[in-house]
Amino acid sequence: MSGNTTRTDAHRGRRREIVFAALTLAASVLFALIVIPTGVTTPSSVKHLPLSPAFLPYLLTIAIGLFALIHMLEAIFAPHIPGEDEDMMSGVHPRWKSRLLMLCALLLVYLLVPDRLGMLLTSVLVTVALLAIGGERRPVILLGVGITVPLLVYLFFAHVAQVPLPTGIFEDWM
């Protein structure tokens, strides 16, 4: 029975590695054919090949493709080693999708809101929200940590380290 699960694990692991290698290979081909020609401006006169701005990107992309190929062959022909790859889905939170979504939303808040609301208010909001998602229900901690810590860190960065953190709507009070 345990032999059986090991075998399916091995199967799954092998398939995953093959998919990974195939995707990497495809990406490197796309990169070489589309991204490098559009993304790298090459001057008309280049004395030596290695002097061209596109030389290293091409070299690296080819190497990536090559290693992806080797990895694929390895995954197909070598007896795969299960065990070291725990299953990707093991141990996830029952509501991991909604939790991940909320986390992503809060990360976006960190990216987009500070210019408007200021870094201090944003960090208070996100910190309190994350504490709540993490399961904290005690108001003392929720608000105590959620407000005091961002305030202290803000003051340290803004006034001791002199980092001009966005002040947002509080422009004149900071």
Partner: protein, 327 residues
Amino acid sequence: MTLSRRTIIAAAGAVSMLALGTSAMAQDYPSKRITIIVPYSAGGATDILARQVADSLSQALDETVTVENRPGAGATLGTTQAAKARPDGYTLFMGQVSSHGIAPAVYKNLQYDPVADFAPIKLLMSIPNVMVVNKDSPYQSAAEFLAAAQSEGKTFGSSGVGSSIHLSGEMFKARTKADMTHVPFRGSGEAVPALLAGDVDVMFDNLPSAMPHIQSGALRALAVTTPERSDKLADVPTLDELDIPELDGFAARSWFGLLAPAGTDEAIVATLSDALDQVIVSDGFVKFADTRGAQIEGGSPEAFSDFIASELSSWKTVVDEAGVTVE
């Protein structure tokens, strides 16, 4: 988003100006922390100068003056941010030869206008570039070097594409038609060792970074690139005074000056200009300039405006002659 906020701020500013009158605002100045934006990271030549100026300026104005580093994209990022800052006199900008001389000529799609977006306050100091070779180099003069460079290939080091060090070399190359290959490094700190080791043949370095090595004898100064000789190197000729017609009027130097965003109250500019007049004659600043081999400049805001205009046009000429541009 930023636009709407800026509009509101501008409107609020206009209302308060009407209510209080311009002079009241300028009279209060400064009433809070002043920030000098430096478009380079902490520790560079511009940063150290800005910190020196901030230190002296805060004494002269009796108000805290701090330095804010906004590096990136060869000084153009910080300059853009300074250009868009609120013109209330609390955000100033440490301008230099790159932001208000070279960059507008080199970069095609610059996000700021070096003239329209800024109100110049004062030119603080200028630094000559010096043509240096290794002490073991066979060339004793710029003319000898030039003769050699016209017959065989030579390399010149620089602190990076678009630096005054690079463009001085390009200017020399374009005018004399010498066969010189540009070897870029990341900063003078990497380029000078290459010259000391003999990996590159010549460099048109900023005087401060070359000076210690000229003094110790490791490098030989062939010429300075300013129209006048430097006090520090009185026996080194200028390129202009050499008997080479192609190099007549050769002028390339680094300089630093303080600017405010355009639209800053004239009274505030005047206040700052007066304060800076005190700063540049203070012992600390004189000593600072002296250790760097720099010339203290000074002068009125108008003179600084004219200076920037002339710098912009002369670097434009160099860049066009040399054919250097950055996409």
